[in-house]
Symmetry: C2
Subunit: 344 residues, 2 copies
């Protein structure tokens, strides 16, 4: 950690280098911002006011409806289900079983999920499933916990469960309202698309994504129910990190190592978001080219910058923050590392 | 196709845009060159003199040793094996069986392969393998055909088969010599690394990779045995495109559609190379960030520029050159397309 190195002054993105042998084989550019709960920009690089889709990295924000509506209490959800509501899980047996059990408790089944089936993300889970003659289900979809959260909120609030992924459905409209308040942006008429799991994905600036996470990290300005929901979601994520991602995954490993100090969540196309409760800061990073590996290594650099990773946990995270590249025979052939200006 | 639009004059890379809804969600930069057999640069963009690892995209060049040494004739190899020697196959049953049969004909087994085991690249092949209680073998490795080619050449030339992936082994030294001659570069002391399958990978400029492919496409200046080997390898690739990649893959689809007009080969970290025999041109493209999807779409733009894809085959290739992005439920959520300056 070199806290003295300032923000790159020209507003250029930070670079993440992919080394093989003695050559940088590929190079990523990452835009990002770290913001406090008053909207102050603490650290920024690249086009940090560019609109992006936060993709799955905003799931902790989307879990607010489930918790603050009272749905989570009504159905006796534990940290595990709230972590799953904020998760992009790997579809390992433990994730799938927990989702099924949750839906059962709400009186629903996996047929009520409106995400498509997706194969598990680990070799072991894939092998186990196919060896048993089974096929991927909607519960295996990495977003099935988030969808279970939407269904649970819909049921609690008396909305129809069918069609809950549609932009016009009251669940999605409530979520839009939450995103507007948390991000401090007006989201009518902004670019939007459909996410990998079928729900709307809405574009707003990187810095406002970071601000939304800052409000989660430091929610004392927020209404009581929302502030309590922010605390509960971050606590659930950091207490049950395996349910937020899965075996060997970046978010899981970081939250396991830096217990309670950070909640991190990645999304497709190179998005990483994080909340630092002790600092009252929110982080949003976007790899320009959509590479998840770049966003992860950039998040590692930012977390080191803020001392989230100190000497006591650094050894556990070296392999995550500057990962080695190995070939099929297990030989180390390279590594991914922050470029010099990203070593804050 | 708009052949009038010139090379971007400022030497900037071309951009490949990843759309979701009405927003460019991610953007790639691709460097590249199209070169003729006299070394004339016909089209170039970005840092086309930057050194890159050609990775698996150079496999057609590496197959030269197998063919010109006489090994291919001695062991009665057909187009299928020569295509496999130039392949990054998907480890589908047909690929694996062909490799095993080839090795058997040379008196070797998959235990002689020095690449690591790799799971098949298609969901169907993966499911079939695990459902049968089997595990990935070295023959499943996408490079097993190339390795079989090295082993066959080693056997024919009287070299030890053991250690054939080492930089010092005579097979690798011969291959280096071939690369030097074909690329017109001196390869002593240049950056090098280890490839995903264990062999050395050597860095030299993008334009020289393109020149090497141009010499394959138009080998009339080359010694007779090498020229014949160039013809034979390109013919094998274009006649047996499934063996060069596999079901649904970019290289396979392009060569199936543009029969005989182009041999294309991708490599890890966003490399694409191609030979246009009718034009006597070679192509090399490198996505700066290593994204294969960007290199493929850029290759599509270059092939259209040179009329390789005319109206008769364009419909088959639209989905490959500007692929749709679908979510897990099969809904179209976006597309990948060349940026305006890449629509040559």
């Amino acid at each position: 950690m070199s806290p003295e190195i300032p923000i790159p002054e020209d507003g250029s993105p930070i670079e993440i280098d992919v080394w093989r042998g003695n050559l940088i084989e590929s190079r990523h550019r990452v835009h990002g911002a770290v913001v406090d709960a008053h909207g102050g920009v603490v650290l920024a690089f690249g086009d940090y006011n560019a609109p992006i889709y936060g993709r799955s990295a905003i799931k902790p924000l989307l879990a607010l409806l489930l918790v603050e509506s009272g749905a989570a209490d009504r159905y006796n959800l534990t940290d595990r289900e709230i972590a799953l509501a904020s998760a992009s899980h790997s579809g390992e047996p433990g994730h799938v079983d927990a989702v099924k059990s949750w839906l059962g408790g709400v009186g629903l089944t996996i047929d009520d999920l409106e995400c498509g089936p997706q194969a598990p993300g680990t070799e072991a889970a894939l092998r186990e499933m196919y060896a048993a003659g089974a096929m991927p289900t909607r519960a295996h979809n990495n977003c099935s916990g988030k969808h279970s959260g939407f269904l649970t909120a819909a049921r609690h609030l008396g909305f129809p469960t069918k069609g809950y992924i549609q932009y016009e459905h009251p669940v999605q409209q409530r979520l839009l309202g939450i995103l507007e308040q948390m991000s401090g942006t007006e989201l009518t008429g902004v670019p939007r698309g459909i996410d990998g799991c079928g729900i709307p994905t809405i574009a707003f600036p990187i810095a406002n994504h970071a601000f939304a996470m800052a409000q989660m990290a430091d929610p004392h300005h927020l209404p009581e129910a929302r502030a309590a929901a922010c605390h509960r979601i971050l606590r659930a994520m950091t207490r049950e990190p395996w349910y937020v991602a899965g075996t060997g995954r970046f978010c899981t490993k970081v939250m396991e190592a830096a217990i309670g100090k950070v909640a991190v969540k990645g999304g497709a196309e190179g998005v990483q978001m994080g909340a630092l409760p002790e600092h009252g800061l929110g982080i949003c990073l976007k790899a320009a080219d959509g590479a998840g590996r770049a966003a992860e290594v950039a998040m590692g650099a930012v977390l080191r910058r803020f001392g989230v990773v100190d000497d006591s946990v650094a050894p556990q995270l070296g392999s995550v923050f500057e990962p080695e590249i190995r070939n099929w025979a297990g030989t180390v052939t390279g590594r991914i590392a922050p470029g010099s200006e990203a070593r804050f």
